[in-house]
Assembly symmetry: C2
Homo-oligomer: 343 residues x 2
């Protein structure tokens, strides 16, 4: 029998459930333990070393005790979990070999045992940065691709507005809109991000929503003839302002409402009767409904990356100990591009 | 030259613009005048005697000075106008002969001159009550037909909820839902109307929303597994409650929001993030976008009427002098079925 090695594990655990308010760093805690690099036979378990972790906005819903969302709550005292890229250290699963690079849901810790290899996927395109598999080739990538092409159904020449426009999803939607021949304007929460929209992401225009006293007036400035497509990432007052500026037959793809607190009901949104006047459509979607597009989407993104017709901006924080900070700064809008934790 | 006959005309005129509040009877006034039954040659004008007038909820928008909607405001001192059924008295238009029964937009008066015959349509199916041409075969009919089949896209066995369920549009949506093999529940504002839903309109169930302290709880009672299709006629708190009770991939056809005051913004609606969780669609529509379905829709309604597979309940008020009352009682929910004014 091979020698069993014990190594230090470092985990990010949920300290306590949050209520309706935004989570803070101290809602998580760093826990050190020892892990024996060993797997029992016949389990199909896979032991991985995590390389990149993805803090994502949806994770705050799992920090609440209530099961209102599509995923169960995290457990206090146990590591939180999310998408990650990892290297296989030991494997009892026929599909995964030692040294393989995999992606899937992993716990926020240095080493994770993935029971039965559940949800793991081998990563074949290793000619791009590995972190891209939780970015442009992962959750935010497929979200932008499916949300824009399948839900918004863009037509050449249409007027597109994107909120949280420089974020993981938003930066891609903007570029997809340009590829589809649309005019695209984005909003973001700092001048630096707005600058990025135009200089690197190909947006036609952009504005800092925090500097606008009246969002509806701001939108009228950028869309004097109205908005055909709104890619909704934030909700609240921005949605209300967009409803006030729709063109006939407009479409709103509701991807996220990150500005809303976690209370079950959210803020009241006015102007909804504009949906009738403008014969407009507002459609919520989840990327998980579009997994059948995985292959075409991966092809699309890889070929556009290679031809430099699309770029992907990341905001990398180093060290598992800094993962709680990375997560919270994302929710505070401090990330510039896709927030990543590099281990 | 033929003898010119002068007769008394009675008109319902707008007295003054309304603001954000609901209109009242005294916002309109009855004006008597004389009209000479004569047309100038070469004008293509048509002089009609109105037989039935249709008070419709959208008309209150035309009583405001602001042009926010898709039709211009009425003018104070001039007759208001809406859909009607009329008889041709004189015609300078090749398509219309004396004695023809026509439908289209007419002024609220006994006799109207329709400039160039604009928007008039000959009514060929005179084997149904003439008033049906502004009901089941007119605006509310096509609204229900297009809204339910084209926007809601029902599937057999789905759970359908209709508000203002016994009204002109609602009573038809309920029956269409049954024809499509759905389970359908309606809400209305009196016990008498709710009774009608089940005894005459084929609804599976119904409730008086004015007697419910908590609309979301009420919906949970009638839809323990959630709502697939909501045909939205009222807006406000009912919409909020429906959003709380959606099934995955639910569809909301936004036909009207009659509960909302006329302020430009309306009430704030919470629970919109449920659109994401349930991957649901909310789509506003106007019947005028579906005029290309006129022929198929007319065929459908006529054959179902003949086979007694569909019925249409009307609430008729007699006399043009009572037209303001008929309009206001509609907005107050006192109508049982399609509100009609019979001249
Ligand atoms: N439906 C799906 O399947 C799916 C999948 C992935 C993500 N999403 C959603 O997509 C949206 C974007 O996610 P992402 O991963 O790309 O995140 P991200 O945009 O990279 O980061 C979140 C950004 O949201 C903005 N934000 C934070 N708080 C805000 C507030 N109170 N008001 C307005 N904006 C605020 C900040 O940018 P600013 O500087 O612009 O404020 C922040 O940088 C989120 O709503 C997320 O839940 C949905
Ligand atoms: N999109 C289109 O093209 C189109 C075309 C036609 C009509 N519409 C809309 O469809 C809806 C129904 O129109 P309709 O012609 O069939 O009228 P209706 O249902 O025959 O009459 C209106 C009914 O609305 C209900 N109501 C009135 N005030 C209300 C309030 N504050 N809260 C809740 N319910 C209220 C009342 O019934 P209860 O007893 O149930 O309260 C009333 O009987 C309206 O919203 C109208 O604007 C849209």
């Amino acid at each position: 029998m091979a020698e069993e090695i014990a190594v230090e594990n470092i985990s990010v655990c949920l300290r306590r459930y949050i209520k309706d308010q935004q989570p803070v760093e101290s809602d998580m805690e760093i826990v050190k333990s020892e892990v024996t690099l060993r797997l029992s036979e016949g389990t199909q378990d896979v032991l991985v070393q995590n390389l990149y972790l993805s803090p994502d906005p949806y994770m705050r819903n799992r920090m609440r005790e209530i099961f209102t969302s599509y995923l169960p709550p995290f457990e206090p005292g146990k590591p939180i979990a999310g998408f990650g890229v990892a290297k296989v250290i030991l494997s009892d699963h026929p599909d995964f070999q030692i040294g393989d690079i995999v992606t899937g849901i992993v716990s926020w810790e240095k080493y994770s045992v993935i029971k039965g290899g559940l949800g793991l996927r081998n990563v074949s395109h290793i000619d791009v940065p590995l972190s891209f598999h939780i970015g442009i080739l992962g959750l935010p990538g497929l979200t932008a691709y499916a949300g824009f092409f399948e839900v918004c159904k863009p037509k050449k020449g249409e007027q597109v507005f994107v909120s949280a426009a420089s974020g993981a999803v938003g930066q891609l939607v903007g570029q997809l809109a340009k590829l589809a021949g649309c005019r695209v304007v984005g909003s973001a929460g700092t001048d630096e991000k707005v600058e990025l929209l135009m200089t690197r992401l190909g947006y036609d225009d952009g504005f800092n929503y925090k500097k606008e006293a009246n969002l509806s007036e701001a939108l009228k400035r950028y869309f004097p003839e109205g908005i055909d497509i709104y890619f909704e990432n934030v909700g609240g007052k921005m949605l209300e302002a967009v409803l006030d500026n729709l063109k006939v037959h407009a479409r709103i793809a509701v991807c996220g409402m990150i500005s809303q607190n976690l209370s079950e009901h959210g803020e009241g949104i006015r102007n909804l009767s504009q949906l009738i006047v403008k014969r407009a459509k507002m459609q919520g979607f989840l990327m998980t409904d579009y997994l059948h597009l995985q292959e075409e989407f991966t092809k699309f993104m890889l070929s556009h990356l290679k031809e430099k017709k699309i770029i992907f901006i990341e905001d990398v924080v180093d060290g598992i100990e800094n993962a709680p900070h990375a997560f919270i700064r994302l929710l505070q809008g401090k990330n510039i591009g896709k927030q990543i934790v590099h281990l």
